[in-house]
């Protein structure tokens, strides 16, 4: 009798569990978005485009699969409305958990991206490692270029694109999480990738800078390289300097980090004074004619001068021309205060314009490995 009662209780409770599976969506019922593009639109606020990767099973005999990219666009007021509309006319649900990049066009980025980034940040599907890319032309052009160029499209296309450029030192790896917090932080500057689209090529062209949430400008590749050197993110890069012994040729040097660069900041007379020390190793790639240890000293000096000029130029642009604190110097200054109120009394945004800077570069050069004179 007792068992019957307990059994009937269990049978009454179990349907509550089994009629569950409210959230079970099978894996083939989703469209997996690889990239999101946001442009200006004539008829509404934004034009939202999504790039989807689909696999087609080409017959059971060969059983091979190829990935293609499809692009869908819609004019809408906000991102969520746009996704709703797209969900409506697409046959499957849209899933953003494999999205690897968000592309803004330059036009819309200069108007402000805070709203769109906040919307995306509220979506739990977005990964924190999504790349933010600003493109010189429209996002739809980028997608068209990819489909037309016949390149082997895979879901990791954008990762490969950004990673390969990071290797050369001309692009920076952007991060959605960091971008989101920088936009909402008063004293920080957000950075993102910048790409330009030619007829056949997509290439990264440095990094883009934001003031608040509006796109201001983009740094050239050389300035990006200086930024990477100053913030310890440089892997390796190749530069060419003028040969001091022969004015008609140049020397290619492969630069890599020797040890961490130091950024110090002090307040002198109420104005910040920035000291940067950079340490690099260099390896000579081509072999013009020179000999002896003295010649390496001369080349060393030449390299030091070149890099110092580069970084000073970079600082001039950042501080005087654009007035953006992208190296997070304000955080370093924070450590000299005991409470946040003391720091807020400083009014960092005003005094940043009048900062002084001094750059020291130390390098050691060695010749390359395999061939000898």
């Amino acid at each position: 009798m007792k068992k019957i009662c307990i059994l009937s209780l269990i049978i009454l409770i179990i349907p509550l569990f089994l009629t569950g599976c409210y959230d079970s969506v099978s894996i083939e019922n989703y469209y997996y978005v690889v990239a999101i593009g946001i442009d200006t639109s004539e008829t509404a606020n934004i034009k939202l485009s999504i790039q989807i990767a689909t696999t087609s099973d080409s017959g059971s005999s060969s059983s091979s699969q190829s990935t293609e990219s499809k692009v869908y666009s819609v004019d809408c007021d906000t991102i969520n409305v746009g996704l709703n509309i797209l969900n409506n006319y697409l046959s499957k649900q849209i899933n953003l958990s494999h999205c690897s990049s968000v592309i803004f066009s330059e036009e819309i980025a200069s108007k402000g991206v805070k709203e769109y980034i906040n919307t995306l940040a509220n979506n739990p599907e977005i990964r924190p490692t999504v790349n933010i890319i600003i493109s010189s032309s429209k996002a739809t052009d980028v997608f068209e270029n990819i489909t037309k160029s016949g390149v082997n499209f895979s879901s990791r296309y954008y990762e490969f694109l950004i990673n390969s450029d990071v290797q050369t030192g001309y692009a920076v790896k952007s991060n959605f999480n960091k971008f989101f917090y920088s936009i909402n932080h008063e004293t920080e500057t957000a950075i993102a990738n910048y790409i330009t689209v030619n007829d056949t090529l997509i290439q990264s062209d440095g990094m883009s800078l934001f003031k608040g949430d509006k796109f201001v400008t983009h740094l050239t590749p050389l300035e990006t390289m200086s930024y990477l050197m100053v913030t310890n993110q440089l892997q390796e890069t190749t530069i060419s300097i003028q040969n001091p012994f022969d004015n008609n040729s140049s020397i290619d040097i492969l630069i890599e980090k020797q040890k961490n660069s130091e950024n110090k900041i002090k307040l002198i007379n109420g104005k910040p004074f920035i000291i940067t020390n950079v340490y690099v190793n260099g390896k000579i790639q081509n072999l013009p004619t020179f000999n002896g240890a003295e010649s390496t000293d001369v080349i060393n000096n030449e390299l030091n001068n070149y890099l110092t000029n580069l970084i000073e130029n970079y600082y001039y642009n950042i501080i005087k021309k654009y007035n953006l604190d992208i190296v997070e110097l304000s955080d370093k200054l924070c450590s000299q205060f005991l409470t946040t109120k003391g720091f807020q009394n400083l009014n960092w945004n005003e005094i940043y314009k009048d900062s002084f800077y001094k750059v020291n570069v130390e390098s050691t050069i060695s010749t390359s490995l395999y061939t000898k004179e």
């Binding site: 509550l16 569990f17 569950g20 409210y22 959230d23 958990s97 940040a121 739990p124 990964r127 924190p128 490692t129 990791r156 990762e159 999480n177 917090y181 909402n184 932080h185 920080e188 955080d331 370093k332 924070c334 450590s335 205060f337 005991l338 409470t339 946040t340 109120k341 003391g342 720091f343």
Partner: protein, 359 residues
Amino acid sequence: MDKKISKIEAICIFIMLFINTILLNAPQILIDNCKTGAFLNSIYIGILAFIFIIILNKIFKYFPSSDILDVSKFLGGNILRFIIGILFISILMLIICVSLAHFTILLKTIYFRNSPILFIIFFFIISAFICNLNGFGAVKKSICFYFPITVLTILIILQNQISNFNFTKITPFFGDSFENTFFKGTSNIFIFTNIILIYFLLPFLESDKSFKKITIISFFISWILLVFMVMIILNNYPFNNTISNVNPVYLLTRKVELSDFVQRSDALFIFIWILSYLSYITFFLYFITLIIKKIFTIENEKMIVYPVVPLIIGITYLLIRTNFYKFGSFELYKNLFNITVYIISLLILFFAGIKKKLI
């Protein structure tokens, strides 16, 4: 053997109870109150709690193999024992219900958007219920089994974030103001929920000599974990924006990636945290039944689970529906915990010690 806890198990249980509070929302409470002063605040409350534990150690020497209920019976008879029991039951119920509400909302926003809340609550409560029916042996062994796995996940998070640790993010040291960090911040001591265990631990131990070692070692380890967690969260999320309603420790797991291969591995972390959280609830549920057993002098505590479980489901559902678990109930819970655990119980032990010396 199933009735006693050995030394290593007691340390595991202590640390595990604290890890669960960290995983739920403890660092976020500190950071919300004190901004960047949370680092110093965590050290400060650790010192206070440590002094408290030493005092408890000294007083409990007069009462071998007895817990707080026996001491209150010695001091004030059955009435005082009843009152203290009811206070502790209410704290434990609040701990279970508030943390369950938190965890359920977290799961619902991320994975189970369309499921009703009761559906998710049922999963947790039924597991705790069945484990309690299997006896104290099962409860104790569950915690010990999931302990190394949970510590492993925390170490993975720590290892991932330590390489890009920037000391300037913790500055300025005192946060908003000196008073906020040290005077108002004293009430943050309610984070150490595992101190409740100290009051009930002695009858379970095989020998009273290991009591001191257990409490001190496990407290140190949990304190160090808290400080590290606070440091790392401050490093990653700036202090003047409490933009995120979601648990920041969970957000840290999204950053754990193994080159380009495994990118969003937070589901695995959640899986392990669910297991450790289930052992946490089970343990506190067992304590509720134990206290009820002692107050009403019932012989077997297994069946007391039957009436307690629907009560917990009801209170949790109520808390979620009225959104009360976010702000209001925290103040209530905070004050109740501080007063009961730190003030009233200490006074009772103090007076009972005096009474014993006089007798």
